[in-house]
Symmetry: C2
Subunit: 121 residues, 2 copies
DNA sequence: GACTTATATAAGCACGACCTGAAATACTCG
DNA sequence: CGAGTATTTCAGGTCGTGCTTATATAAGTC
């Protein structure tokens, strides 16, 4: 399974967001996800499994709990893939910087079409 | 359709890679993709449509040809989402900086393992 | 206009991802 | 050990996505 396939699911992205805030138990993650997505506990567990199996998260047993944490590998891979496109928006910033440096008074909004990135809150 | 869903498909990722090298006609893209993935022309056209519809690519008519180009928006969005995880691998560099600042003499190589991101060549 | 080339759209089918409910595993406590 | 809680695994059903073939649109050429 490719890294992007893993990230293709909103639940998994949300789980990763939660884990980005630090280690969380399966139960903690499940509580939030159930609240937000209304899916069953096994469903969440299955998503956690996908994250585990694909190296996005590591698990650590603490008694009967499983503590999940973000694992950088695959995310870095994604970041690396994006690398080749970074010029497409950095350029614009460079261009903007140049414009400003040249003293252009006509100011264009730096942010173009604005869509909500946030899918949960 | 969420940006990550669009990138979830290997054909679409490949198309974007091609477009990253500059404007390409539908035909040129199709030729490469058909070669590499063995899918039909309509299939490629449908992928191009998804890229268009989701703002990953823009089209420009040139006679009977359609020239496609990368559009930054959604990719930047993805990049932005990754932002919050960047610490997970940059940390190491920070840690190194700290170590150096503390005057540790044991020096570790700053560049770690290098992996190929490319899935086709 | 008839014909060819370039590309997009439509309709239908198939496979896999994701969900659910049920059951299994694993640890803790008395 | 038996009961209880946390979590994973299993089996089955549903729906969306991506494929194919057939066809439509549009632009060039003669």
């Amino acid at each position: 399974m490719h890294a992007f396939d893993v990230l293709g699911d909103p639940v998994r992205r949300r789980i990763l967001e939660l884990l980005a805030g630090g280690e969380r138990s399966s139960g903690e993650v499940t509580a939030v996800i159930q609240q937000e997505f209304g899916i069953s506990q096994p469903a969440v567990s299955q998503h956690l499994r996908v994250l585990r199996d694909n190296g996005f998260a590591s698990v650590r047993a603490a008694g009967t709990r499983r503590l999940y944490a973000v694992e950088a590998g695959p995310l870095r891979e994604v970041d690396l893939w994006l690398e080749r496109f970074r010029g497409f928006w950095d350029q614009r910033l460079d261009a903007l910087a140049t414009e400003l440096a040249r003293g252009k008074r006509e100011r264009r909004p730096a942010t173009e079409k604005k869509e909500t990135t946030d899918e949960h809150g």
